[in-house]
Structures are given as C-alpha cells and as structure tokens.
C-alpha cells in the first residue's frame, strides 16, 4: 500500500523540482513482507531461504527473508513518486542490504535530500535512502543521484 498521496492531493504535488531544498524529506511507501509474494516464481521460489521456515532455519536465519531486490523496488517506487520521469534517465541507485527483512515485517522507505550540485540548467540531487521495519531497524541503506531540470 502506498502512502504518497491522500485521495484529494495529486501525486505531482510531491514532485521534486530544482527549487526543492537540501533536507527535504521524501514521503516513502509502506509494504508488508508477504510470504506469498516472497515465495512467488518471480522472486524467491528457486531459493527456499526466501519462503520456507524450515530451510531458512537450517541456514541460520530466524525466518524466511525477502529478496533485497524487493526493497530496492520499493525504494524505486518512492523515487518515481518524487522524481517522475527524471528517475528514468542518468540516475544512480546504490543499495546495501544491511539486515534481513523477515516474513511479515512491515517495511517503510525513507529519503532525505543530502545535496544538490549545480548541473546544466538544474541540479544533480543526492538523496540518502533507507528502508526500515516498524521498530525503526534499518534493513536497506544507500543513496540515489538524479538530475532535475538539467
């Protein structure tokens, strides 16, 4: 479920422009690590660490873990909500999966504009991004770079 816009607020109201200041906080998206999706053919069916409690325990995991790429996709969704078409050209996404996302955890993505460097007619934005669980434990950390108004 996304939390980027209320029913009466157009999503474009959240769009980052050349005027957006350093320190601006992106509104994230929130998702549940649903075991049915984690074990789907698209994501983890071929690797039972991602969906089978018995196999996951045999490799030392507390529970099946979501593929990191699912968290990256959630972060990308947040970035498209805020950067729109700019996120599809000459952008960079760096993600490190620092802790496992366990089945049934609720994950929220976050982002804060760290820097905007002049480039062309606009700026290259650098945004610190992360995803955490309900307890605030970080699961994925990294940063993105996106050209805006260039």
């Amino acid at each position: 479920m996304t939390t980027t816009a209320s029913a009466d607020t157009p999503a474009t109201a959240y769009r980052i422009t050349p005027d957006t200041p350093v320190g601006y906080r992106l509104m994230g998206v929130k998702k549940k690590a649903a075991i049915q999706l984690m074990g789907s053919r698209l994501w983890g069916r071929f690797n039972p660490n991602h969906w089978d409690p018995v196999y996951a325990a045999s490799t030392g995991l507390q529970a099946p873990i979501q593929t990191g790429e699912m968290s990256s996709a959630y972060i990308a969704e947040m970035c498209v909500n805020h950067f729109g078409a700019d996120f599809f050209r000459n952008a960079r996404v760096v993600c490190k999966y620092v802790a496992s996302t366990l089945a049934n955890e609720v994950i929220t993505t976050h982002g804060v504009v760290r820097e905007k460097a002049p480039k062309g007619r606009g700026y290259r934005f650098t945004v610190d991004i992360w995803a955490d669980n309900e307890a605030g434990e970080k699961k994925t950390v990294g940063w993105i770079e996106v050209d805006v108004g260039v």
Binding site: M1, K31, I35, Q36, L37, S40, L42, W43, F46, N47, P48, N49, D52, P53, V54, Y55, A56, A57, T59, A63, P64, I65, T67, G68, E69, M70, S72, A73, Y74, A76, E77, C79, V80, G84, A85, F87, F88, R89, N90, A91, R92, V93, V94, C95, K96, Y97, A103, N104
Partner: protein, 178 residues
C-alpha cells in the same frame, strides 16, 4: 528462551499434501546444488537476451504492489495496449532489469546455487526501457572476496537494446555465497 521448531506451514496454511509437495521440491533443489562461490570463476562472462513483454512487466509490478500506470502495457479485459508515460508508451519499472540479472549471473544451464543472498548493488539507470523491448543482459565476474568470514562474488552488468544497441543500464552487484 526456547523457540518452537520452524514448520513448513508455520507462515501460511497448508494441508498434508502441500507440505509433502513443498518438502519434495526443496529436497530436489538441495540435492543438485553447488555453492555459488564454487560455481563462479573471476572473468566468467554470461549473456542472455530477455524480451520484456507487457505480461512480464505486470508480473513484476504486481509482485511489488507497484501500480504506477506508466508500466501498463497490459490491462485486464483489453490485454495488450500501447500504454502511456512521459516517454510515450508504457515503460519498464526502473529496477526490473536489475532483478533479471540474477537469471543471467546464475548460469541457467546449471542447478541454482540455493542459499545465496544478494547484498549490494550500485545501479545506473541510463535510459528508459520501452515495454516490448528485447534486451541483452551481460554479466562479468570481476571479484571474489572474503569479508568477516563471509564469501562474496562481485559482478559487473550491462543491459543493452538488442535492436538499437542503446545502453539502458549498468550495475555492480555482490552476492553472498553459502
């Protein structure tokens, strides 16, 4: 504190036959698997074409619950449609191809190295990919290293349009091996 032993149906309801099918499937995976560390040599290059059909895009987008209409080149009742986005027709979600790198760097002609975990990626999204494009994903193993007693394999990746040669995407990524 003692935790109860994990069970096959601990996270979703199953009947006895579903549990048996699940255990048989996992046993079949484990019986033929090598570790990723042993499967890969530095310098290994693997490359495959992927036709990014509208249905594949929907499969991916639904699996991360991302319902952005820019990705819709397929719609229930209508089926295939051109779609709409700021680039004209429907486009591929920005990190979709990153996910399918897995199906290239893990040699698909050999049993999958189960127990491997993706830990890091540094991705450059260079150009939007139109839905319907056929891309070539190429992976090159550039390093194997041990950090905190864990074994990692690093790859460099490119994704190009087969027809036009457009370079859509580049990535460096790490896999933690068993």
């Amino acid at each position: 504190m003692n935790h109860p032993a994990p069970t096959t149906d601990g996270l979703r309801p199953m009947t006895e036959i579903q549990i048996r099918q699940t255990r048989d499937y996992i046993d079949s995976l484990a019986s033929v698997s090598e570790t990723y560390w042993d499967m890969v040599s530095i310098g290994d290059v693997l490359s495959r074409e992927l036709h990014i059909t509208p249905e594949l895009v929907i499969l991916y987008a639904d699996a991360v619950e991302d319902f952005n209409p820019w990705y819709e080149g397929w719609r229930m009742n209508t089926w295939r449609i051109p779609g709409e986005s700021p680039f004209g027709g429907a486009v591929v979600p920005p990190l979709l191809v990153s996910h399918f790198v897995l199906s290239v760097q893990f040699d698909h002609t050999r049993p999958f190295a189960i127990g491997s975990i993706h830990t890091y990626h540094d991705s450059e999204i260079l150009e939007p990919i139109p839905v319907g494009a056929t891309v070539r994903i190429t992976t090159r193993a550039i390093d194997k290293f041990i950090k905190r007693e864990r074994r990692y394999v690093r790859h460099e990746v490119t994704v190009e349009d087969v027809a036009s040669g457009t370079l859509y995407f580049r990535e460096t990524r790490d896999i933690l091996s068993r």
